[in-house]
Each structure stands twice: as structure tokens, then as C-alpha cells.
Symmetry: C2
Subunit: 325 residues, 2 copies
Amino acid sequence: MSITTASRVLNGSKHPVSEKTRARVLAAAEELNYQPSALARALVTRNSRIIGVIVGSIVDPYFAEIARGVEDVAGRMGYLTMVCNADRHTEAELAHLQTLRDYRAAGVVFASSGYADDEHGGELAHAVADLSERGSTVVALAQRDFECLHAVVDNHAAAYDITDYVASLGHRRIAFVDGPAGLYTSALRRDGFEAAMRDAGLDPTLCFEGGFEYEAGYNAALRIMAAGPLPDAVVGVNDEVAIGVMSGLRQARVDVPAQVSIAGIDDTRPARFVELTTVSVPLYELGAVAARAILARSGDEQRPQPNVLLPHRLTPRNTTARRPR
Amino acid sequence: MSITTASRVLNGSKHPVSEKTRARVLAAAEELNYQPSALARALVTRNSRIIGVIVGSIVDPYFAEIARGVEDVAGRMGYLTMVCNADRHTEAELAHLQTLRDYRAAGVVFASSGYADDEHGGELAHAVADLSERGSTVVALAQRDFECLHAVVDNHAAAYDITDYVASLGHRRIAFVDGPAGLYTSALRRDGFEAAMRDAGLDPTLCFEGGFEYEAGYNAALRIMAAGPLPDAVVGVNDEVAIGVMSGLRQARVDVPAQVSIAGIDDTRPARFVELTTVSVPLYELGAVAARAILARSGDEQRPQPNVLLPHRLTPRNTTARRPR
DNA sequence: TTGTAGGCGTTATCAT
DNA sequence: ATGATAACGCCTACAA
């Protein structure tokens, strides 16, 4: 019973092995509580069973849901998912990419959007190309300026739909709280808002600077209240911001939704907590799709996969109300 | 210029190397965009720069904050943090532990509490011991029945303090919504609640089954309302549950805090969104402490480290009010 | 069907 | 100060 034979049965090689020896090997492995070294295996195979998920912020429920999607399907196949926090810095993404490359990750998932005019964009594109050449599958879950599989939702349409819905409630003065400057997702959603406003014959210029976090929304609420008469409604670039706005308004004794309606985008868990009107984005599914793509490619040959666009859905809840007239 | 020499300068060995050759190696490495294989290195050193964080639920903000703490300090030192989701199943923890062992993780952090009378407890203790012997540092951030470094907060006291505070507001009928059955943290907090109630001369038996998630709180709210006259206040085993209760109550047109006061424990991000009265638990710091312990041990020798108890702090906000009399 | 030899990319040991 | 050589634990030809 040689090492080779043992290796063959333990790693499911298709090389023929007699039933008796197979059984003996299995028995011995069980007996010794033997586990093959993932390290050595990855070293020779040039491919580990690690999947990296690079997120913009580990505490953001948006990314948590995506990570869960990846982890669920990857874990079922014996893959290890590592969630890497980049704090929305391209340089941090670069560093994580480096490490992931060092471990010959089977794939890496870019969960967050890229920046327009990113000064490290070239470097990143280069690193991604390098990674792909080495056999890792990379997939992006939002707009990115490098070549890879994209699985996304239509952010422009999502913002359009929620804005259109709010307008349909009879609101005229509708404000928008923007996301982080330069991020594609921010721009896409703002554009969607503006398009919907124009199509409804409303003024699309009531935009406030924001971010993706609760605090950004809270601060925006302060500026909104200082900027003149209250708007009829405000659409946040995402749920956290919308909740932050609501929190700021309510603290100032503004009644939501009686005085001001509020809506977000994403339908993350906190949105359900506060019964926020929003648009549901299939976050979990986005992650699952990414994981499946990686598993498919690392199993079979490198057959190229088609990009995918997942559907979103308007989800009215209790933070919006019809405008009294 | 041999491989050996190159290796020596590239990995900061303390073996002497002349300045000239050192420079030449560095230049060549830069030139070729060379990166040492983390896999090969880990294979021979029997220690990778991977830290595993096993969490009870990846979407739970409680764990997100802890993961951030670990990731922040580990990332700064070039370590890779992998967040593994166990869905609160000991078996899943076992599986992750297996994988982490295969990759010779530098350390693993158990972020969630263990179960009393866990049927897989023995197995887990065994796996942990095995891991420790192989040189990995394991640290638990809540009560666990295996030998390892513990960095925790006093859950009993945290629950006592928040209950005591609520009672001090004049409330008499105070309900408690419990956490997952069998979990040490649940029991500790419930005990803290009961102790505070008794010390305040109040009835500590108004407990409802719950969980750690929003939905559990929401469902508990329904049962609370069906169980007779509304309580003066309710203390949730954690913030999510407290918010769920609040959501359920408000949906039934119960005014919080005018009719019922509500408080949680943990001070996770959503708690700030809704201005929940709670007790702040140093989640980020818990993770940071764990990471530092792992880094310390994998750098120097295995000097044993002392367990640590981190302080919590009462954080009154707007979901509790003094009882009208 | 089974076994042998070579190599994956490092670090560690022992010369030189 | 530098270099050859042997592991680390596995997989994949290539023989037998």
C-alpha cells in the first residue's frame, strides 16, 4: 500500500484502484484521523479551495447578505470563504488581492462597486488580469473597470423605480441623498433618481451629499432641514442612509411618513426592522451566483461564463404615505 | 546569488547578508514583480498567516463588529482574516475548524457562545486541543467549554445593569425576551435579568422565548400582547430582539416608549439607528484583543496569556421613558 | 492495478 | 557572507 495509492483513493482520482485496497486505505485514514494537507495539495495543484470576498465594509448589512450567499454555496462544496474588508479603498483591495493570489485562491468576488477615475484603477486591472491568468475566477457584483464576470442588478432602474413610486404618491419636492463620491453605484442611482424626476415633470436638483452609512444620512437630515422648507419625501441612495435621514428627522420631531416620506434601496435587514419602503435587491442570490460561477470554473475547464443581471423589486412599506391634498 | 540568499533577504531572516547582494535581490524581486508563495512558506513553516473567525451568523451586526476588530489589527500585520459562518451549529464549527487546521491557521477566534450540554461538545474540545497542539492560538469571545484564551464581557452584569436601569425608571411589570435555548450567553443574561428583578423586589418570571434575531423579537411581541395586560417595559436579550419587539408593538399601535419602554444589550449599529436604550459592549475591541493575542503568540514563543474581561457601559437612549404615575 | 520518481516553492541545516 | 541540499506533504507522469 503505497503513498500514491492512498493519495488516489483519498482525493477521488479517477485512476483505478481495487475495492479491497480502497477499503483498506479508507479504514487506515479513519483510524489515524488522517486529513490531507490542504497546503501541500494547493501547492502542487496550483489551486486552493479558498474563495475571497472583498467587501467595502464588513459591518454593512448589504455586504453581509452577499457574503452569506457566497459562503452558503461555497461551504457546501468544501470551499472556505474569506471575507476581506477593504474599507472602500482600492489600495486595500489591492493588498487583499495580493494575499489571495499568494494563497492561489480559487476565486475572488468583488462585492462593491468601483470608482470612476480611480487613480489605482490601472494597477487593480493589472492585478486582476494576473490573477485570472493564474487560473482564479474573478467576479464582480457591481460595476468595475476590469475584465471579469459581472453579476449585477440594474441600479439605475432600481433608483428610477423607487423614485417613480414616491412620485406616484403625490409628492412633488423630492430630495435625494447621494452615496460616496465617485462610486459607480452612487452615480447610477442618482442618475436613476434624476431620470424619474424629469419623467414625472419634477425638479431633480434637490440632491444632498451623503455616503453609504447611517451617519451620512443623519447628517444629511440636518442639512435638509436647514435648507429651507421640508421636502415632501426623500429617497436615500441606500437603506442605511434612508434610515439615518429618518432618524435625524424624527429626532427633530418631524413625523415620518405623515410630514415626510422616506425610501431607500437594497432591502437590507435593518430596512425590515424599521419597515422602510425600499426596493429589494437579491443580495444573497448575487453572492450565490458568484460562488457558483467560481465553483463551475474551478471544476471543469475555463469555459467562459455569461454576465448576469438579477431582477429587483419594489417593496413598499410604512415609511412612505400618500401626500395629503 | 542563490535561491537561499534571495529567500533570506525576502523573508527578513536575521541571517547576515551583505548590503550589495541584499540590494540586488530586492531590485530583482521588484523587477520581476516577484511574490513568495504563501502556500509553500506555510507548508514548510507549519504556520500560515491566516486567522479564522468563526461566527454564529454572518449577518448579525454583533459578529460583524467583532470581525472588523479582528480584521483591522490582523490586516495591519499582513494576516488574512477569514470569517466563517457556523449558523450556530457546533457541527458547522467543527467543519470550519477542520479546514482551518488544514491550512495551518495561525489562530482561530470563536466569536459566539457555546451550548450547555452540547452533544458535540466533546468532539469540539478534542479538535480545539488538537489545533492548539499544532501551534494555532485559539481564543473564545464568550463562554466555551474547551481550554483556550477567553476574552469576554460580563453578560450577567450587563443584563443586570440594563434591567436595574429600567426598573429605576419606575417600571414594575418588566418582561424579558430570551435568547436561543441552551446558549450560555442566553442563560447568563436571563440570570442577570432575574437577579436584578429580585433585587428590585419585582417579579422576575415574565420571560418569553426568543432568539437572537429580529424575527424572534417580533414574534415575541405578538405573544406578549396576547399574554394579558401590556408590561411596563421589556428587556431583550440583545438589540435585534429588542428592536423586533419594538417593531411588533408599534405595528399594533402601541406607543414606545410612552406605553412600553424597551431596552436591549450590545449596542450594535441598528441600535443606534433606532435610538435604542441598551448597554454598550466593546465588540470591536473584543475582536482586536483576540487578534493581538494571536499575533503575539505566533510571533514569540507560546507564552501563555491571561484571560481578559472587558467593561460594558449602560447607554440610555430614547426607547425608554420614566413611568407616568 | 500498483508503485517509483520528480517536482510544486519555500525554509532550515549544514557546509564552504 | 553565501550556497548546496534536504525536507514540508501532496499529486502526476511514467513505469512495472
